[in-house]
Point group: C2
Chain length 456, copies 2
């Protein structure tokens, strides 16, 4: 559905809702894809959203809609759906989506639902929920086709025909007598093989796989690197327990990209787009505190230097005018380095082990950038203040600050990655603020040094 | 291959290269996946990289390796591969990868290669290259299975068996007598259908599709929204001309996320990780210029106010100490808003049409955040300077600046999206700098107003 078609749908649904034309509305909803219905519900005012949700043609559609909703929105939305209806919908959902949905809910809410669910579904959910959040075990599905090594190609094709209840049969996994993953073959390889060939002869033995405890980012990296449609998940004993499909990987990639960008800007991982006003404020307020604390330290710093320069207040005042440009340029170079490294690490292009090599490289880049803008600012400073000494000070300070910023912007994310901390966290307001404090210190240290020599 | 296994491989290959143990090396390379080989080559020193590349077991592997290389690295790497070898490798590559590789190369280089290629391949490449960069037409492949509506399920299965040369047969597209896309079915639906059913009876008629000129981001959004493995591409006459597969979409998603993060930091879209030192400098230098120009304007601004306050130089000096915190907090809130909106737009969660609604919301968030930190800073200012008037000024200035920054951070990306400009572009150094200038103006305007009243 194109953007235009979606807006047309939104307009139509809003009109039908106003006219309370339910039977008409049901017809429209029936023809719409669950993904579009989810988007529609998210954009409608609350009461209308529930009306539409209750008019969905069947539980399968409702299950699809819930699976496609933004998790943050869904969490709030489910508060007003009756438990009975929810249990019914959950039973029509693939196991991985069901576990994801329940994993997001508060503990108590989840228990209430689990208690109402059939024993079998309950076990399935608990099996997936035993794995930590954001791991392969948590996002995998137990719905896959695994066949014994000795089966023939013809028999296998029959099995696949019968396995139509399973979601997306694209690779067929082959297991040994203990259930351990021993090979893989694609449906294409199977349909093109001679009828009586045993699977062990046509399967590929070198299977790319992940372990239940692997991080979902690692899973995404592997699926993307090897261009897979699904990757098998094994437990500690190499027993095949599930698969992660590429559609989940696409979701992980989207999610991680959003997370990284928001983390770097100092907003916690979740999308606040649908939050209430106060909740938005509460989410963003604490992240500003790092900047605030740093800013207060800077007020103190500048105040201290002002007292130090009390005899030369005009010099101090002239120098104060250069504070924003020196901090701004340092911040900017630092953010450039930071972003390059964070993305390099995220795409696997950069190796945390190359810390020293990268730092050596960045110090050169930072130095050349710094010298360039240092000379420029020195000249501008000279002409603006008519003082060679101030020109010299600001030129040196901006060069030193830009070089150091490039270094800090490289060091922090790579160091974080080495200690297995998400490098994007390093890049929030905390770093910007530290660089400000550093920049001011460099600036005034340079100034004290030269003005002291000059005064003598 | 795990990270540890990869490092082991890297160590082994380096050791074998030093010992010039070619036959041993060839054995190791033979067992390694092309994606890992590509990564290996990228991490080796230049001369070793070519040695490994020349020892690859066959052209198919070499084709896989080139397809998996980072485009920026590949462009440089290919300069030193002979045209004859390259043509041979290209003939073993799927058409979409071939077009992507050639599309990246300089015009002259591409023409030289095309002239050496067999007529058929040449036509295929030119067909894909006629579409603009980053469109569906450019990333699609012409290798897909399309069957006529009247064919039976059994016949179709035979066709698929024979079509094993095609890459990834997961959906079967059904076309009418004019070649127009009329339906789709999955291989699973086909193998589970009764033998004599005509395809027109089992196919799904409501096909999700894209047009050749659609942006690749739009293609990625559709594949991700509808959880597809491939999406058909049609031309203006609705004739099926290609498909975009999910592995390409995964690449697009990775690419776009990197681009957005780098754009927001003021680095052009390409990953400079493999650039030479001077090239890195040349890439980053101009993006710092916006900050520099803005910074010089700020120097002028502050200088102007210094002259204005010449009679009250001590007041000016005290006020100067608060410049970094006021600009820093504004910059931070602005970046938060900006990032939230940029990602909201990228994920399709936010609609550019809701500009006014979003601005109304952000002005409230910004105001509450501003007031909170304004009161805090007012108190700090009062105690630090022992001046109620300075406390008042800094408190009001920071509140006003934070509110305005939230507004600017919302307005720019949404406005950009309305004019179909990439919103991430709006978020670079240019915006940070504009917000600095705005913040200073607000600060000194507030100060002039109060000090003027206070003086009288």
């Amino acid at each position: 559905m194109t953007e235009r078609a979606f807006h047309l749908l939104l307009d139509t649904v809003e009109r039908l809702l106003r006219r309370q034309a339910s039977s008409h509305l049901v017809k429209v909803l029936k023809k719409t894809h669950p993904a579009d219905l989810a988007r529609l519900i998210q954009q409608l005012p609350e009461s209308h959203a529930y009306t539409v949700f209750n008019l969905l043609p069947d539980v399968e559609t409702a299950a699809g809609v819930l699976s496609e909703m933004e998790p943050v929105f869904r969490k709030e939305f489910l508060q007003n759906v009756t438990l009975e209806r929810l249990v019914e919908i959950l039973s029509a959902m693939p196991d991985d989506n069901r576990a994801e949905l329940l994993g997001d809910m508060p503990e108590e809410f989840r228990q209430n639902i689990l208690n109402l669910m059939p024993e079998e579904d309950k076990e399935e959910v608990n099996e997936l929920l035993q794995y930590a959040e954001d791991t392969a075990g948590r996002i995998m599905t137990g719905e896959f086709v695994a066949l014994p090594e000795s089966m023939t190609a013809r028999k296998a094709i029959q099995e696949v025909r019968q396995a139509s209840a399973h979601e997306m049969v694209f690779y067929l996994y082959v297991t040994d007598e203990k259930g351990r993953l021993s090979g893989v073959l694609s449906l294409r390889q199977l349909v093109t093989a001679a009828d009586e060939t045993p699977l062990s002869e046509i399967m590929i033995r070198d299977v790319v796989k992940v372990h239940v405890a692997d991080d979902q980012e690692e899973v995404a990296r592997i699926v993307s690197r090897y261009n897979l449609l699904a990757v098998p998940v094994v437990d500690e004993e190499e027993i095949l327990v599930g698969i992660v499909t590429v559609d989940d990987v696409v979701d992980v990639l989207r999610e991680e990209a959003t997370e990284d960008i928001l983390k770097m800007a100092g907003v916690p991982g979740e999308d606040t787009g649908t939050f209430s006003l106060l909740r938005s404020v509460k989410t963003r307020l604490p992240w500003l505190f790092a900047t605030w604390i740093g800013g207060v330290i800077n007020v103190q710093l500048i105040g201290g230097f002002e007292r130090f320069f009390r005899e030369k207040l005009l010099v101090f005042a002239a120098m104060a005018a250069f504070i924003p440009i020196i901090l701004g340029m340092g911040g900017n170079v630092g953010t450039q380095s930071l972003s390059l490294k964070v993305r390099g690490l995220a795409t696997g292009h950069l190796d945390p082990k190359s810390l020293w090599k990268e730092m050596f490289r960045e110090i050169q880049v930072g130095f050349i950038l710094g010298i360039t803008y240092g000379i420029l600012l020195g000249i501008v400073g000279l002409f603006m203040t008519n003082s060679a000494i101030i020109g010299l000070i600001v030129g040196i300070a901006i060069s030193a600050n830009m070089t150091l910023a490039a270094l800090v912007g490289t060091f922090l994310p790579l160091m974080a990655a080495r200690f297995r901390i998400d490098p994007a966290v390093a890049s929030g307001p905390f770093v910007a603020t530290s660089m400000d404090i550093l920049g001011l210190t460099i600036y005034f240290a340079t100034a004290s040094f030269f003005i002291f020599r000059y005064a003598n």
